[in-house]
Structures are given as C-alpha cells and as structure tokens.
C-alpha cells in the first residue's frame, strides 16, 4: 500500500502541536492583558460629565479637597458636593458662563447633578476612605495627580493586586497625616527611613486577610 502521508508530515504534525501550545499561551496572555490591564479597567479614560468641572482649575486655586469631598475623613464614602456647594462661589462668579448652565439648572429645578463615576470597586469588595486618610495614605496614592486633571479620570487599575501591593508594604506609601491632601508630595527625608517610622507611630497593620476586603 502506498504511503498516505508524505514524510514531511511528521514534522508538520510536531510543529503544529508546538504551534497549538504556543497559540494557547499567547491567547491566555492576551486575555490576561485584556482583563487585568489598564485598558479594561478604564484607566485614564474621561467620561461624559453633566458639567465640565475641572479639578485642575479649582485645586490649583488652593481649595482643599474637603471643601467639596466633606466626608472623606469620617466615612467610607468620600462624598460628592451638592449643587449648593458649587453655588457658594458661582452664585457670584462666572454667573453667566455657558459651562455652568447645567449647575444653575440643577439648583433652579432642585434636581441633583448626576456625575458619571470613574472610580469604583465591585460590590463584593469593601472599601473605606476614612481609615486610609487617618493612617496617612494620600489621595494621590490611589487617584494620582488630580490637580492636573481637567476632567477626572481613574489613575490606577484598582484591581486586587493594586490594593495588596500597598497592604503588604504600607511603609513604601505612607506619609505624614498633614500631607494626605497634598498633590505632588515629596518626602522631606528618604521614604526608607520615614516610612517605617510613620508605620510604627500610626500603628499601621499589614491587612492582607481576605476578610479585610471581602466581608
């Protein structure tokens, strides 16, 4: 009986097995990059907002984060400002600017502005602002240079590995409490001496048990 397959078919068969494995590895790598990457987590993506509120403008005026995000030190939720907070200044300045029309309409109709959220964690994750603020973790560590954002975007992936990186090594990120709201903070002495000192002073624990965040 004549041979059905040519000799070279052996090589082709081996090569295709190797190729298949390679393909699988590549595909899962791609999937990983896609599902765990900055792109899918909408990092640095600007969303449509009901009013063009610029942190760059307002923070650089010297207005403290807490003027608007009032509950960030005391509760889980940082708080977004009600329309009245905008109007405490804009009832008098830039009163006719088109950019502020949605804000004036919101006040007149007693209808809250519905900001599009850019940061969120899934509902099976428990997150709390106040503990981070009170243990000396700066807004910048999780939200980046907000003072350079004309419209807010998400600065970090907020994936589990992002949280854990700091929960394992808080001394790399901790700052003095009075610097928590500072943007562009530079430690006065090197972080490798300051970090462990603050960790001891603020009694910071390494919270890596699953029930810290999944409760």
């Amino acid at each position: 009986m004549a041979q059905v397959f040519h000799r070279a078919a052996n090589t082709v068969a081996r090569a295709s097995i190797a190729g298949l494995i390679l393909l699988l590895v590549l595909a899962s790598g791609l999937l990983w990059v896609f599902f765990r990457g900055a792109y899918t987590q909408s990092v640095e993506v600007i969303k449509d907002q009901p009013a063009q509120f610029s942190h760059k403008h307002h923070v650089n005026l010297g207005i403290d984060c807490r003027y608007c995000h009032t509950t960030v030190e005391t509760s889980a939720f940082a708080g977004l400002p009600p329309t009245e907070t905008c109007m405490s200044c804009h009832s008098q300045i830039w009163t006719h600017a088109d950019m502020l029309e949605p804000v004036r309409a919101s006040l007149a109709e007693n209808r809250p502005l519905q900001w599009t959220r850019v940061n969120w964690v899934p509902d099976y994750v428990y997150f709390n602002h106040s503990i981070h603020i009170n243990k000396g973790i700066g807004c910048e560590s999780c939200h980046g240079r907000v003072d350079r954002m004309p419209l807010v975007w998400r600065a970090k992936t907020l994936l589990m590995e992002f949280c854990l990186e700091c929960h394992r090594n808080p001394e790399k990120h901790i700052r003095p409490r009075e610097e928590v709201f500072t943007m562009g903070y530079q430690p006065k002495q090197s972080q490798s001496t300051l970090g462990p000192k603050l960790v001891a002073e603020y009694q910071v624990r390494k919270l890596t048990d699953c029930y810290t965040c999944h409760r």
Binding site: L61, G62, D123, E178
Partner: protein
C-alpha cells in the same frame, strides 16, 4: 453519539452563565446612587420632618444654635484648648479661607477672582460681635454667604470661631503678649511657624 453535542451545548450554556458578573453589582443602593423607584430619583430618603435620632436631641440652644433665649451667647459653650484652636485653624483654612483669606482679612483667592462681600474679621464691629452670632452665620449663612451648617458639625463650628477670635487678637498683639520662650523665633521669618497643623 447523541450525548456529545448535548454535552457541548450544556457546557456552552454553563460558560455563558459564568460570564455574568452579578456579584459586581448587588441589588442594593450605594451612597448617592440614583433610584428609579422614588419620584425624585434619590435613593437616600430624607427623614420625616421632626424626626430626632437617638442622642441628637438638641435642647442645649447655647451649643447648637449659639443662643440663650433671644440673645446670642458671648462665651464659648465648650472649653477652648490648644487642640481646639489647632482644629479650628485647620477647618478655617478648608472652609473659610477661600473667601475670608488665611488671615481673616476678607481677601481670599476667590475674592481675587471676583467674588464680592466677604468681610474683614478685623473690623471693630466684628471684634465686638458675640460668638453666638458667628455660629448663627456659619450655620445658616447670611446675604451672599451660603450656609455651611450641613458641612461643618457644631464642635468644628465652635473651633473655627475660637480660631477667628485668635486671628482677631493676633492683629493687635504686641511682643509682650508672646511668651518669652517663643520670642526669639519671631524675628526669623514668615515661613515655618513651628506650629503643627
């Protein structure tokens, strides 16, 4: 042989079900989340008018309104310590300084951008004004100034007022008012004050 396609189809179904990220969004409201159930679209409901939460019965009008009967109180209803002043300074810098200025001279950043009206706390009239009046202005606002009561709890309001009093004193202070130990540092500069924020 019929089993194979059946198994494939059920596997596919399982896989499809597994893709639903139901636990990402539980059927619950998060803070400030809109609601389609209530006509005003708010998931956070206002308590019925007249509701008093436990421990929130505010009978002490001197503390919670700055009044005794019809007149404003002129002494602080709570003790004023150094910690109060430091807290007051921090809260003043957050909530008042954009308009009234870090010094209390009524020349904050927003005024420099065109806002009219914030007063200079160093006017004689305001130095004589009882503390209860300040409390009332912070809580309810006045004229062109919006109310701040919903953002600043009462103990912080008193701390801010204590700090404003300190600012007012500071403008007429002489070297004799400064404890001898602190005098040498005064000539140094306007920079590092050495006071912890």
């Amino acid at each position: 042989m019929r089993a194979a396609p059946l198994a494939a189809v059920s596997l596919a179904c399982l896989a499809a079900v597994g893709c639903r990220q139901t636990m990402d969004t539980d059927p619950k409201y998060e803070a400030m989340e809109p609601s389609s159930f209530f006509s005003d679209g708010r998931s956070a409901r206002a308590p019925v008018a007249g509701t008093v939460a436990r421990g929130e019965l505010k009978l002490d009008t001197a503390y919670y309104e700055g009044r005794n009967g019809d007149s404003f109180v002129d002494t602080f209803p709570a003790p004023v310590t150094k910690a109060t002043l430091l807290r007051g300074r921090q809260r003043y810098d957050i909530f008042c300084s954009p308009c009234h200025g870090l010094l209390g001279d009524g020349n904050g950043v927003v005024v420099q951008r065109g806002l009219r009206g914030p007063v200079n706390f160093h006017e004689d009239r305001l130095k004589r004004t009882p503390v209860g009046y300040y409390f009332q202005v912070i809580t309810n606002g006045r004229g062109g100034m919006y109310p701040y009561g919903y953002r600043i709890p009462p103990d912080d309001r008193w701390a801010i007022i204590a700090y404003i009093r300190a600012l007012q004193l500071s403008q007429d202070a002489t070297l004799n008012d400064v404890p001898p130990a602190a005098r040498p540092g005064l000539n140094a500069s306007h920079g590092e004050s050495g006071v912890e924020r």
